[in-house]
Each structure stands twice: as structure tokens, then as C-alpha cells.
Amino acid sequence: MSGLRRWGFLLSFAVVLSGLIIAPHVLGTFQRVLLTEILIWGLFAMAFDLVYGYTGMLSFGQSTFFGFGSYAMTLAILRGGIGLWPALLLGIVVATIMAALVGFVAVRIKGHYFVIITVIFSLVFFFWALNWTWLTGGDDGLSLKVPDLRLGWWKGSLYDPLTNYYFVLAFSVASFLFLRRLVQSPLGKVFLSIRENEHRARLIGYHVDRFKLLAFVIAGALSGLAGALYSLTLRYANAALMHWTVSGDAVVWTLVGGTGTLVGPILGTALLITFTDYVSAWMENYKIIIGILIVVVVLVAPQGIAGVVRQRWMAKGASPNGR
């Protein structure tokens, strides 16, 4: 059974990855740009899935870390004049530190209050970014001249669309593999038990708050990475990236795609971003349709797209854990 599932995963992963590698050669410019964005936001949604789908914390604060990753990297290049890799690393580090600070307070707060506090944190940092225009550019944001990409002796440029695409793809795929391993690991099992029953997790000896903080910080780091990738791709950062509704998008994508599945958030992101892009072209109030879609999903298939698929698979008698 476990072997079957493992091969099933490897096969589908290989197929999808091949598809993604070939895609930019087949697609037009518009679709390629769209796909790049989907990979970035999909990474962001996966990070949210770790926090919510696997650890049970409904956080609307992820945009804060996305924004800090984006700004820290952008400013490091603009003001610090440092190279691409150190700037990217700095973006992740700053996002991680911010997640640790916010998380330190937030994970102690239970239930609905947790949701509220993460929204509040988001708003605080959003208004901060909006008002410190001398540093952040506020609503207008900052434009960025992206430094060369160096890999050993090889030198490329993210201004080249293909290079940019593969650059983003590499990080998204690596993050997916990391997260997939994480949620199946001993640490991931701790997260799951906290999601299912915090009280009992505590009683069997887990320092619950510490593990929640850890999940929150890992997700914060990956959100920061997504933010940095975003700014490298669009050569741009602005305060609006920090707004809690950006986190809200990740919540929606993840719910539609299926929480606690990792693949689901990417599917949801792909579906809704594509949908938004096409529908918003001929309909101004396209968000109404998205709203209706969410209501339908929550009512008909609360486990989301990937959740339904997984359920079908399990109904066929396969072990849900591959063990």
C-alpha cells in the first residue's frame, strides 16, 4: 500500500513537474506571466496551509511576512546595493524574525481572538508601511532594478522571462517538497495532533505553544520567500502587499483547494487567479462570483477540491497515511 502511494506520488509529481518545465515554451507571454504569479502565490498559500491546514491556526497575518520579505529584499538592493542572493536571504531572515515576534504574542491567544489579533497585526504593519513613505514608498511603492543572477560561473538575468520563470519554479518546487516532507515527519505529526486537539496534545506532553510558534515561523519564512520572489518578478513592492486581505486571498485559495493537503492550495490558487484574470476582464464585479463560489465550496465540499479527491482515494481502501 505504502509503496503504491509512493509511486503514485512520484509519478504525478514527475508529470506535473515536466509540464511546468515545458509550459513556458508552449504558453504565450500572458499565460506565462500568469503561471509565474500562480507559482509565487501558490507558495504563499502552501505556507498558510502549514499554519491553518496542518496546525489549526486561522491566521490572517501572513501578508505581514510576505510584505516584510518583499520590502527587506527590495530595500537591501535599492539602498544597500547588495547582490541578489544576499538580498533574497535577507528578505527571508527579516520575515522569519517578524513571524517570531508576531507569533510569540499570537500563539498564546486562543480561538477567534487569535484570528482577530493576526488581523490587527496585519493592519498595524500595513499602516506603518503606508505612512513611512520615505522608506517604503507607501501606496506608490518602490520600483526595483534587479541585480544579475549568479550561479557559480553562470550569470543570468531575471529580466529574461524564462530565467525568471525557472527561478520562481525552483523555489516553489523546493518549498513544496520541503513542506511535504515536513508534514509527514515526526514534527508534522505534532502539528497535526495540535490541530486536532490542542488540549489533549498538551496532556500527552507537548509544549503546544512552542510548536505552534515553530509552525508559524516556518510559514512566515516561506511567506517572506514568496514576497521576495514577487518583488523580483514584478520589480516592485508596495504597502498594499501587507494588507490583511492579501492573507485573506490565501485563506480563500486554500479553502477552495483543500486545507491540509498542500496540493490543494496550489490548485485553489491556480484556479482562482486564472478565473479572476479572465473574468475581471469583462466583468467589474467579478468578486461576487468568487464569493458565490466560496459559499458553494464550503457547503458542498468543505474539504475542498484536493480533499474530495483524497476522500475518493481513501474510500477505495487505501491507507490515508501511506503506512
Partner: protein, 249 residues
């Protein structure tokens, strides 16, 4: 561990909720290897006593010693890591996970490091412990079932399994047969009997047949105090106990 000393000892343990004193000045001593039953009418303070022992409630006064070490006011997870494990009167499981993953999560909880880079199934010792416990509680065949799909009886068994898989030095069972029919009660009691030989246990239980068949010593609580303590047969004969239960003055 001191060989001769008690495993658990409380001194003047007291818990008041406003004007109500749920546990009053309790001096309680338990030797290693003992199976102790705590009985008493509803509201006698038995569950509150457990909540104090496991750190879920801070005591108003008094101290708790485990293996001679003061564990008063330790948070629940630290108490658990010291080796005190408990079941809950109202079943509290990881409902969305499988039976196997429930036990597995408890079985790995004593570890210090939780590796994010290896597959969970690579922890052979945790796997072995999990299988051992599943065998013991008789849920081996249902290992891949989601816990939310289990019968109440099986959930009560799993409740015990979770506590057992942490390999506790002291196991607190809070009404393990609560809400079970006669047949399931027998099954749970039989399961407890199996591991009772090698485990120190305090069991709160209303089913007198279960209590009598398991306990070495019985402690009777009434209105937060220890009313009486002694071997099962003497408790059974006691007038005082009868009065407490039947409300005769």
C-alpha cells in the same frame, strides 16, 4: 527514584472555586506498583483532584510530590513529561486522525527532538510502541479507521491507549467506563487488568464491580475530603461509605 519512598504524595492539597472548596486539605500517598481506586459521590472532588495532579488547575494550597520531587504548579505538559499520564472522563482524542496516528502521536511525545526532515515511519521504536499499545487495547484491526468513525466503546479504549503509549510511571484513569454498556465495560476492565500488573494506577470509577476487581486499596472522597481509605472488602462493609452513597444521615 527513591526505592522506598512513595511515588506520589500530596500534602494539604486544597482547591477552592470562590466559596466552594472542591478539594480540601487532602493528604494522599501512593506507593509504586499500587492500583488505587478513588470513589465517592458526584461532586466529591475526584476529577478536580486529578486536574490538580496533572497541572490543569493550580491548587489553592498544598503541595504535590512525584518521586519526591515537588511538581506543584508545573504546567500540564511538564507534568506529563515527568511520567504522569491521564485519561479524560469526556473522551478527548484526535478525531480527524486515524487510530494508528492517535497512538503514534502519543508514543513519540516523550522524545526531545522532532525531526522535520525524515518520514515519521522511520522512527522504529515509536512504531513498535504504537503496535504494542494497539495490540493491548485490541484496536489493531481498526488502525486505519478515522477515530471519528469509532464506536464509543472503542473510543474509550483508545482514550486509555493514548495515555498508555507515553509509557507513564503513573496512570490516572478518570472513569474509563463512563457511558459504556455492560459488555463494553467488561472489555475495558479486562484491558485495564492486563496492564495494571506493571503500572501504578489511580482509577476514578463508579462501577463498583470494576473497582473491586482492580483496586488494591480504595480511597473514598466526600465533599472534597478523604473520608476513608482501606482494602476493598473493608470499604465494602463500611457503614460510612454506605451513608455517603445513599445519603443516609
Amino acid at each position: 527514584m527513591a526505592d522506598s519512598g512513595p511515588l506520589l504524595k500530596t500534602e494539604g492539597l486544597t482547591k477552592s472555586f470562590g466559596g466552594l472548596t472542591a478539594v480540601a486539605d487532602v493528604d494522599f500517598t501512593l506507593s509504586p506498583g499500587e492500583v488505587r481506586a478513588v470513589i465517592g459521590p458526584n461532586g466529591a472532588g475526584k476529577t478536580t483532584f486529578f486536574n490538580l495532579l496533572t497541572g490543569l488547575l493550580p491548587p489553592s494550597a498544598g503541595r504535590i510530590f512525584f518521586r519526591g520531587e515537588d511538581i506543584t504548579n508545573l504546567p500540564p505538559y511538564r507534568v506529563a513529561r515527568k511520567g504522569i499520564s491521564r485519561t479524560l472522563q469526556v473522551t478527548s482524542l484526535f478525531l480527524g486522525l486515524t487510530v494508528f496516528d492517535n497512538v503514534w502521536a502519543a508514543a513519540q511525545s516523550r522524545r526531545r527532538f522532532f525531526n522535520p526532515f525524515i518520514h515519521a515511519s522511520r522512527l522504529r521504536d515509536v512504531d513498535r510502541k504504537t503496535h504494542e499499545v494497539l495490540e493491548l487495547i485490541g484496536l489493531k484491526d481498526k488502525r486505519d479507521e478515522l477515530v471519528s468513525n469509532l464506536s464509543h466503546g472503542d473510543q474509550r479504549l483508545l482514550e486509555i491507549g493514548l495515555a498508555l503509549s507515553t509509557s507513564p510511571s503513573l496512570l490516572l484513569l478518570d472513569e474509563p467506563t463512563a457511558g459504556l454498556g455492560p459488555q463494553e465495560t467488561t472489555e475495558v476492565a479486562r484491558t485495564i487488568k492486563v496492564f495494571a500488573k506493571g503500572t501504578t494506577i489511580i482509577i476514578v470509577e463508579h462501577d463498583m464491580d470494576v473497582v473491586m476487581s482492580l483496586a488494591d486499596t480504595i480511597t473514598v472522597f466526600d465533599q472534597g475530603r478523604i473520608l476513608l481509605e482501606g482494602p476493598p472488602d473493608s470499604i465494602q462493609r463500611s457503614e460510612k461509605v454506605r451513608e455517603v452513597y445513599l445519603g443516609v444521615d
